[in-house]
Symmetry: C2
Subunit: 305 residues, 2 copies
Amino acid sequence: MSGWGPPPWASTQLPAVEEALGRWVPGAATDDLAQAMQHAVLGGGKRLRPLLVLATAEAVSGNVLQTLGLAQRDGLLRCAVAVELIHAYSLIHDDMPCMDNDVLRRGQPTVHVKYGEAVALLAGDALQTLAFELLAGADASWPAATRLHWVQTLAIAAGAGGMCGGQAIDLAHVGQAMTQPALERMHALKTGALLHASVMLGAVAGGASAPQLEHLSHFGRRLGLAFQVVDDVLDVTADTATLGKTAGKDEQHNKPTYVALLGLDKAQRYAEQVTDEALRALRASACASPEALQGLAQWVTRRQH
Amino acid sequence: MSGWGPPPWASTQLPAVEEALGRWVPGAATDDLAQAMQHAVLGGGKRLRPLLVLATAEAVSGNVLQTLGLAQRDGLLRCAVAVELIHAYSLIHDDMPCMDNDVLRRGQPTVHVKYGEAVALLAGDALQTLAFELLAGADASWPAATRLHWVQTLAIAAGAGGMCGGQAIDLAHVGQAMTQPALERMHALKTGALLHASVMLGAVAGGASAPQLEHLSHFGRRLGLAFQVVDDVLDVTADTATLGKTAGKDEQHNKPTYVALLGLDKAQRYAEQVTDEALRALRASACASPEALQGLAQWVTRRQH
C-alpha cells in the first residue's frame, strides 16, 4: 500500500480549484504583498480542504461541479478557496520566527524568508480577510442565508474558539507532557476545526438534511483527528524532501505528539481506527454519492506527505 | 479651542459600546489568548470607529440606539464592535517588532510586550476572525442581505485592497520621499478605508438611499484623510503622555508624513480644509439628524490625541 497518491477523483477536480485560487488571489506582479500572497497560495499543496468541500457537496447532491449552473459552481468554488486561504494564512503565520521559525514549506522558502517578516505578517492578514470577502461575495443564486451560514461556519472554525485557540494551547504546552484527551482537544481546534468546517461548508452547499449534517459533522471531526495523527507519524517517518517541509521538527521543538504519547506502531493503528470511525459516520449519513469523499478519507490516512 | 474632548453625544453612546466590546471579546481569564485579546480591545481608546457607525446610522434614521428594538440594536452594536476589532487587530500587528516595534499603546505596554510575540500574532488573527463572526451572527431581524453587505464592506476595507494594502505601501516607502498624491493614496487605504467603512456600515444599517450613500461615502473618505493629517500633526505637537503612544515616531522611523511634506502650519490648515469638505458632503446627504456625526467630524480635527 506504499506510494498512495491522491484518488483519481481528486485529479479531476484539482484544475478547477487551482484555476479558482489563481483567479481570486490578487495578481499585481509589482506589489510585494500580492506576490507574497500568491507565493503562499499558489505554490502547491495537497488542496485537501478544497477537495473536502467539493467531495462533501458531491456526496450530498451528486456531481456538483459538472451539474451546477455557472453561478452556483462559482459559489461552491468560493467555499473551496476560502478554506484554503485560511489554511494558507495560518501556515504563513505559524512559520514566522516568533512561532515555529520554519524556513521551508512545500519545498520552497517560507513567506517571511522570501519577503521579510513584515510582509509575511500582512500577507497572512490579507489572506484571512479575502476568505470572508469571497464567501460574502458569492453569486446571489445562493440564498443570502446560505452565504451567511458559510461566513459564520468558517469564522467559528478559524477563530479563538477554533484554529487560533488550538494554536494558543499548542504554544502554551511546548516542552510539557499532555494527556491524550488534552492532545485531542488541542488538535480538534488547531487542525480539526478547519477540516471539519470544510466538510460542513460542502454539506450546507450540497443541501444536506439535518440528520445528514449531524453524521457529516461527526465524520469531519474523526477525519480531522485521523489527519493529525498521520501528520505526527509522518513527521517521524518521512524525510524533508518528501514532506516539502522540515521533517522531525516536532521532536526538535519538543512538542507533544501522538507518536510521543503512544509510540509509532500504536499511533499508526490509532489513525486507522479513527478513519474507520469516520467512514462509519459517512455511511450513516446515507449520502447518495459518497465515493469521492470515502476516497479522500482513505487518502488522508495512507498519504505519504 | 484647546482641550477639545469628545462631543457630549459620544459620552452618551460610549457605555453601550464598551458594554458590547466586553460582552463579545472572549473572557476566559486563565487563557493567554483571551487575555491578550481583552488587553488589546478593552484597554481604552477613543472608539472613533464605533461612534462613527452609530452616528451615521443616527444621521440617516434618527436616534437609533434608543428607538430600535433590542434585537436590531444588537445588530448595530455588532457593526460598531466589528470595526473596532479590525482596528485593534491592526494595532497589535503594527506594534510588533517586525513592523513598528512599538512598546506603548494607550499608555499601556503593547500586546507583544505583555504576552510575547506569538500570542500577540494569534490575538490579532483571532480578533480579525471575531469581527466577521459577529457581523454574520447578527440577529435575523436584520435581513440576511444587509448582514452580508456588512461582511463584504468590512472585508473589502480591511484586506489587500484596503488597510493591509495601505500598510504594505507604507512599509515599501520608509525612508523615501512621497508626493502628496502618493501619500494620500497610501493613507486612503491604510487608515481611510476602515473609517470610510465605519460610515458605510452605519449608513447601510440606517437604511440610507442610494444618493445618501454616495454623499456619505464622500464624507467618509474626506474624514479619513482629515484624521490622518491630524494624526501626523499630533505625532509632532503632542507628547507621549497625552498620546498614550510614543510621540515623534514618524520622524524617528523616517516616515513620509503630511508635516514632512507641507510643514506644520500648512498641514494644520489642510486638515481644516478637508474637514470642511467632509462637512459639506454631509450637508449634501440631507440626512435627517446629522448633528452627532457633524460633532464627531469636528472632534476628529480638533482632538488632542
